[in-house]
Amino acid sequence: MSPRRTDTGGRIDRLKTIRFTFDGAPYTGHAGDTLASALLAKGVTLYGRSFKYHRPRGLLTAGVEEPNALVTVLKGEVREPNIPATMVEIHDGLVAISQNRFPSLAWDINAVNQLGGKILSAGFYYKTFMGPVFGPLKGTRFWMFCEHFIRRAAGLGSAGSAKDPARYERMNAFCDVLVVGSGPAGLMAAKAAADQGARVMLADLEPRFGGSANWSDETIDGAPAADWARRIVAQLAGRDNVRLLPRTTVWGYYDNNTLAALERVSDHKEQPGKGEPRHRYWATRAKSVVLATGAFERPLVFPGNDRPGVMLAHAAERYANEFGVLPGERIALFTNNDSAYRAAVALKKAGAAVVAIADVRPELSPEMRRLAAEAEAEIFAGHAVVATEGGKALSGLKLQRFDMTNGALIGDARSIHADCLLMSGGWSPTIHLASQAGAKAEWNAARQAFLPPKPTQQWIGAGAFTGSFSTLEALAEGRAAGLAAAGGQSTPSVLPVVEAVPGDPDPAPVFEIRAKGKSFVDFQHDVTAEDVRLAHREGFVSVEHLKRYTTLGMATDQGKSSNVPGLAIMAEALGKPIPEVGTTRFRPPFAPVSIGSLAAERFGDLKPERLTPMHDWHLANGATMYSAGLWYRPMIYGHAGETVEQAYVREAKATRESAGIVDVSTLGKIAVQGPDAALFLDRVYTNMFSTLAVGKARYGLMLREDGLAFDDGTTWRLGEQDFLMTTTTANAGKVMQHLEYFLDVIWPELKVQVTSVTDEWAGAAIGGPKARQILATCVTGTAVDNATLPFMGIVRGEIAGAPVMICRLSFSGEMAFEIYSGAGHGTHVWEALVEAGKPFGLVTYGLEALGTMRIEKGHVTGAEIDGRTTARDLHLDWMLSKKKPFIGSAMMDREGLIASDRLELVGLIALDNRPLNGGAHIVEEVDEANPHGSIGHITACCYSPALGKHIALALVKGGKARQGTRAHVSDPLRNRFGPVEIVSNHFFDPDGSRMHG
């Protein structure tokens, strides 16, 4: 006998057949089925192997809390692991596979782990693999040896490595009332709020709105509850002020009533509709939230409670009533509360035989006896299930008399033949979002459950969420919550009439039956009741420690079903009441969230790109572009057949022999203006700017408040109160923020305005022995001779009719000029310069040649100003003015910052004539087998055409004193070892005769 589809009943469409595969075998189901209900209808009882012991596992639940039946869904090359089969809607072409089994689900090698249960108990990993090596089979090295095998055996599904082609969306939404959960409480709340004219959003993680109304046998206003729900949903759908979000899991509750939700837009379709994303991430700001998230039924903890065929009572009720599937033919129930009797009646009605109801309570109410009679079930009051039998499906169970006052088992066990056992250990309100919103849950002894805390944000609870488990209460609380959330006044009106089976909402305080055998608390992580007690014996008394040690509640289901039973067992071991043990705080996400939805559009081609005004010209003229932050810059202008190195060597060489031109538009540019601008710059830079003459530029260095180097660049004085500051490309934003901070916060009395003008100017730097001659042929309106334009001088003129500003400064070490024009004139001016340079052999050069020439000159950039170096380390102490305080001056002379063994900037020459690598370590003695003794590292390297050698800049301990000595590079990652000579960072033209001309 096995599970089967009923002939009638359920909210599936038996006329629509859907074909899918599971573990390679073809199956059919009906529209409205989940993967779980469709497979169960075909008699499938085995869905996965457990995490640690590889025990066979079946369906425990019918919803999002499912811990056992996790599957991987394959779409093309893309695999999505760890999805509960209960949450997968079937569609034609669906391909799903089971997980954590090797080589196959039915025959699993690792199931032998069950026999070694003692070895794999709580803390096994910590005890065996952490700490020093005591013997051959212990410690961290042993872990390294075993890791491969354990990771293979103990895992959930594996993620794929194929690129996910699906599209994801992010939406920002605003509403007056967000209703989470669409059961009777949520529907009433949404309707009441919408009737008040509020903008309402209603989200439910299931595809069908209605919650328990979809599977309860109750009637509302004379109609089946499901029909009532459908009617309310239709009313809501017709309203402009309501947005319905099915398949939408609200997974995070953040500050200011901001909630995060994941809408699974097209997972249930063979192909997404036109323009549809796969998932949509909703970031919603709600003025008010109604939490109508219901409750989760709890398992009971007893030996063999994890055998396939053991299921939560309401889940079976749901399979029968909502999906028309009987989970078994001969059904037994085991409960500590009244709600399971409803399931017994439902399954009897659907066509199953209910053979026994074991209830831990010795006394049962007449109503429950009547329901049991209606189900034609034999009652075993004061009994408990002490064992289950069967392999991949249940074949029977054992009952024994049970005293719930002391947990004792009395007399002999008796066997019951059954193919399905339903259990109910009471209900835990789904308070996750309320807990995330900031307050502590409160234990309610009557309900034996944590109830939602007092709101610390704008939310109102309704229905089972608040511990009110009857539909009538849900309707009343839902309406009140909807009204209050919409700011409406409660008016006396008649509630819908509910016809439901009676029941006491309070369970007996029984969580565990202690008998011989493995009793599971956390099904997904294979944590047993004995593991919890073991953790206690080993001294773990805090619930947070217990959780980490046993991994209870830390699997993908986050202990939705195991949390309270785990606490109860811990409390018993500690001899404390449950509220004193406390509960762990729930954290987002409520259920797993696709990473794609969080990134949404923010990846790949949609990241902003910053292009210089001359970008198209570079592309058209053979540049290979290079991304530097958001900017794109030419790396080389390669000729056919050239390597990158050949290209930059040619470009750098040509620049030093005749002239080269490079796009420097990306440099940060900040206009610093106002009566106090010069004073401000004196405070910001380490050197003086108030003494700078109008029409001149000066190289400046900034420190941070802590005295470390921050950024460098030239600043041009265009007028008495008008400066143009340049920054490095990478730090432009940071420097701007730094200046704004000091003006707004520290020196509000200064009359200075700073404006970012990076994008307003196009910049070209032209350098080399022939640079001045080239300028002379194309610049009008000013002379460019040494008298008119001395080193660091600024002139204004025109190039090809466009106004330009020219400053004579040099980064390459050559006689060089920076030419700034309006961004719109950038390409025009650039082309005119290139044209004028042709007779002189002018080359365009890119970042590689720029870097090469700056290394030859020993100039520093971000690789050396790395947030750890001081001005002294970089030999820039000549720039530290003694005449004035500046940002960083008070902190820069601290002991540690002036120590003699600091990393200092040096030059390196490879003595073996082989290329050096950035990041390679410098050592005094090479030890290839056991690299150690680093005295520094390489920050930048190149082949220097000027020197004909492989050179590098490096930061080396006490570097200055080591100049003229030898050391070695030690780069085990790239297997590069070899001797170097430590020299001054000024490799080329150290006295600057070339740039001064």
């Binding site: 200011n256 405070r683 509000p748 305005q753």
Partner: protein, 103 residues
């Protein structure tokens, strides 16, 4: 978290940059009092409750704001310009004009 910028209105925290503890006092620039400088550069208050903080509306009008935020609840009880009315000068009116243009 929402911060209500006096120019721009209520905006998501994503538009703002945290610029540190607003209780710090920068010593006189010429001061060599190392203890005071050390406290200014490295010491931060970390109260459980209301905290004076500096936030820059970096994705908006770029002014620096003095924000009093409860570190337990993220409740913001006041927001003001760091510059205040004194010394704001043209900067303030220019930014306000910009804000008005937008609305």
């Amino acid at each position: 978290m929402l911060i209500t910028c006096p120019y721009c209105g209520p905006r998501d925290v994503i538009e703002f940059t945290y610029q540190g503890d607003g209780n710090r006092e920068r010593p006189d620039p010429a001061s060599q009092n190392f203890e005071a400088w050390n406290a200014y550069v490295y010491d931060r208050l970390n109260p459980a409750g209301d905290h004076n903080e500096i936030w820059q509306h970096s994705g908006g009008c770029r002014t620096h704001l003095r924000v009093v935020r409860n570190t337990l609840t993220h409740e913001i009880s006041s927001v003001a310009f760091m510059r205040g009315d004194h010394g704001r000068g043209d900067h303030g009116s220019a930014a306000r004009r910009k804000a008005e243009d937008k609305s």
